[in-house]
C-alpha cells in the first residue's frame, strides 16, 4: 500500500527567546507521509527551513516513544493533539487529513515560561517534587520482591498514578493552568504504599504549597486534565488529595507535629 502524502498548513508559535515577543507564523508542510509521527513532520519542516537558511522551529523531545514526558506541544488547542492517551511523539500524521490547518503552540502557563518557540521551562514540577515527592529514609539495596505484602488493588492504585510522566499536559489543558493532576498523582502514588505512608501528611502539605508558590491556578473540577493526560490518570486522585490535604491541615493546626 502506498503511503499517503499530506499537504498541510501549519500555524506555529515562534518566539526567539524568553523575553522576546512571540507570534504565530504560517508554514506550508508539503509531502508529509501519513506514517510520519508528528515530531517527524516537524523534522521535515525544519530540514527545509535549515536548507533555506532559516531558524528551525525549536521543540522539546527525547525518547520519542511515549515514556519520558519531554515532548509537549498544544496541537489545535489540545495538549498532545487529538486522540486519547497519546503523547505528541506517539501521535501520527494519519490522524490528520490532506489540506488541514494545524495550530501548534507551546504548553501555556505562567508557571511554564517559554524559553524558545515551543519549548517551555517545566522546572516548576521539579520544585514540587523537591517539596516532598520522595521518601526520605535510606532505602539500602533492593529488598526481596514480596518481603513487604502490598495488596494487589493498592499496588495497582499506586501504579496507575505512578504512570505519570510529568509532561505537563494537565497544566496546559486546564482552563486555569492548575497542576492538580500532576501533584495528586505524585502525592498519592507514594501515599498509599507502606514505604510512603509515614510521610504522607508532610508530603501533601509541602507539595501543594510548592504548587501554589510556583503560580499554577486552582482546580475547578472540569477534568480537562484527565481528558488529555497521555497516561489517562484519573481525576479521582485529585479527590483523594483534597481529602488528604484537609486531614493533614487539621492535624497540622491542632497536633502540630508529624
Amino acid at each position: 500500500m502506498a503511503t499517503e502524502k499530506l499537504n498541510l498548513t501549519l500555524k506555529v508559535w515562534r518566539q526567539p527567546s524568553s523575553t522576546a515577543q512571540g507570534e504565530i507564523v504560517t508554514y506550508e508542510a508539503k509531502d508529509i507521509p501519513s506514517t510520519a509521527s508528528f515530531l517527524e513532520m516537524l523534522d521535515i519542516v525544519n530540514e527545509e527551513l535549515i536548507n533555506k537558511g532559516d531558524e528551525p522551529i525549536a521543540f522539546d523531545h527525547d525518547c520519542r516513544e511515549g515514556i519520558c514526558g519531554m515532548c509537549s506541544l498544544t496541537i489545535n488547542g489540545r495538549p498532545h493533539g487529538p486522540g486519547d492517551g497519546v503523547t505528541t511523539c506517539q501521535l501520527h500524521m494519519r490522524s490528520f487529513r490532506n489540506g488541514d490547518t494545524i495550530w501548534i503552540e507551546p504548553f501555556r502557563a505562567q508557571a511554564f515560561p517559554i524559553l524558545k518557540d515551543l519549548i517551555v521551562d517545566r522546572s516548576a514540577f521539579d520544585h514540587i517534587i523537591q517539596a516532598g515527592g520522595y521518601i526520605s529514609a535510606r532505602t539500602g539495596s533492593a529488598v526481596d520482591a514480596n518481603a513487604m505484602p502490598i495488596p494487589k488493588p493498592v499496588a495497582d492504585y499506586a501504579f496507575d498514578a505512578a504512570a505519570c510522566i510529568g509532561c505537563g499536559a494537565c497544566v496546559a489543558a486546564c482552563k486555569n493552568a492548575s497542576a492538580m493532576l500532576f501533584v495528586a498523582a505524585k502525592v498519592e502514588h507514594l501515599g498509599v504504599l507502606p514505604q510512603g505512608k509515614a510521610e504522607k501528611d508532610r508530603r501533601v502539605l509541602g507539595m501543594v504549597r510548592a504548587m501554589d508558590d510556583a503560580g499554577f491556578g486552582n482546580c475547578t473540577n472540569q477534568y480537562e486534565c484527565e481528558a488529555v493526560c497521555p497516561k489517562e490518570i484519573s481525576a479521582t486522585y485529585i479527590t483523594k488529595m483534597n481529602r488528604d490535604f484537609a486531614a493533614a491541615s487539621i492535624k497540622e493546626a491542632v497536633v502540630n507535629e508529624f
Binding site: T74, A173, V208, N242, F245, E252
Partner: protein, 234 residues
C-alpha cells in the same frame, strides 16, 4: 505554629480556598432545599404559609431567624470572597491565552460560574429588598387578619401580589435559571472538592447534581407560574 497562623496558611493554599468554597456551597445548598420546602407551603393556602412565616420569626424567642441570617451571611461572604480570589489567581496563571482554544470536556456552566454567581448575588439582593427589607406595616395588605386571631404579616398576600406582575415573574424565572445553571456544575463539584468522589460514584454524582439543580429550579418557578395561571390567588 499557632492556630491563627494555620488558618491563614490554609486559606492561602489553593486547596484550602476550594474547600471553603465547597463547604459554604453546601450550607447554601441545604438552605435552598429548606427555603424551597417553605415556599411550597403556598400551595396549602394562606394559613399554612403565614403560620410558617410566624414560626420563623418567633423561633427561639425571635433570635432563631437572626442566627440563620448571620450563618447565611457568613456562608455567602466566604463563598464570594474566596471565589473572587480563586478567579483572580486563575486568570493570572495564564496571562497569554492560546491563539487556538478548545474545550475537551468542561461544561459551559463550569466555565461561567463567576457570571452565574454574580447574577445570583444580584438576584438575592433584589429578592431581600422586595420581600424582607422594604415591606412594612404601612403597606397595603401587610397584615393577615383572616387566618389567625391576631395581626401577623401576610406572606401569602405579599407573594401573590408580587407575582401578579409578569415582569417580576420573568425576572424570578430567569434568575432561577442561572441558579440552576450554577448548581448543574456546583453540586457534583462539591463531592470532588470534599474528597467524596470515586471512579464508581462519579456518574451517579453527576446525575444527582443535575437532578438537584432541576428540582430547585422547577419547585421555585412553579410558584410565579401558578400565580400567573390563577391556580394560586388572593
Amino acid at each position: 505554629m499557632n492556630l491563627l497562623e494555620s488558618i491563614k496558611r490554609f486559606y492561602a493554599s489553593s486547596v484550602g480556598k476550594k474547600l471553603l468554597v465547597a463547604l459554604s456551597g453546601v450550607v447554601l445548598l441545604l438552605f435552598l432545599l429548606g427555603h424551597l420546602a417553605g415556599n411550597l407551603l403556598i400551595y396549602m393556602g394562606r394559613e399554612a404559609i403565614n403560620d410558617y412565616g410566624e414560626f420563623l420569626h418567633h423561633m427561639l424567642h425571635g433570635t432563631g431567624v437572626w442566627f440563620a441570617r448571620l450563618g447565611l451571611l457568613a456562608a455567602v461572604t466566604i463563598h464570594v470572597v474566596a471565589t473572587i480570589h480563586l478567579v483572580q489567581q486563575n486568570r493570572a496563571a495564564r496571562e497569554n491565552r492560546y491563539a487556538y482554544e478548545t474545550t475537551v470536556r468542561a461544561s459551559k456552566a463550569s466555565r461561567t460560574m463567576i457570571i452565574s454567581g454574580i447574577i445570583i448575588l444580584s438576584f438575592v439582593i433584589f429578592h431581600l429588598l422586595q420581600f424582607t427589607i422594604l415591606p412594612g406595616p404601612g403597606d397595603q395588605g401587610y397584615y393577615d387578619d383572616q387566618t389567625s386571631d391576631h395581626l401577623r404579616p401576610d406572606v401569602f398576600g405579599m407573594v401573590v401580589r408580587a407575582f401578579q406582575n409578569i415582569l417580576v415573574c420573568l425576572f424570578y424565572i430567569v434568575s432561577m435559571g442561572f441558579l440552576c445553571f450554577h448548581l448543574s456544575h456546583g453540586v457534583a463539584s462539591v463531592f470532588q472538592t470534599l474528597g467524596l468522589r470515586s471512579e464508581k460514584t462519579a456518574a451517579p454524582i453527576e446525575w444527582f447534581g443535575r437532578a438537584y439543580a432541576a428540582f430547585i429550579f422547577l419547585g421555585n418557578i412553579s410558584i410565579p407560574i401558578a400565580v400567573q395561571l390563577g391556580f394560586v390567588h388572593l
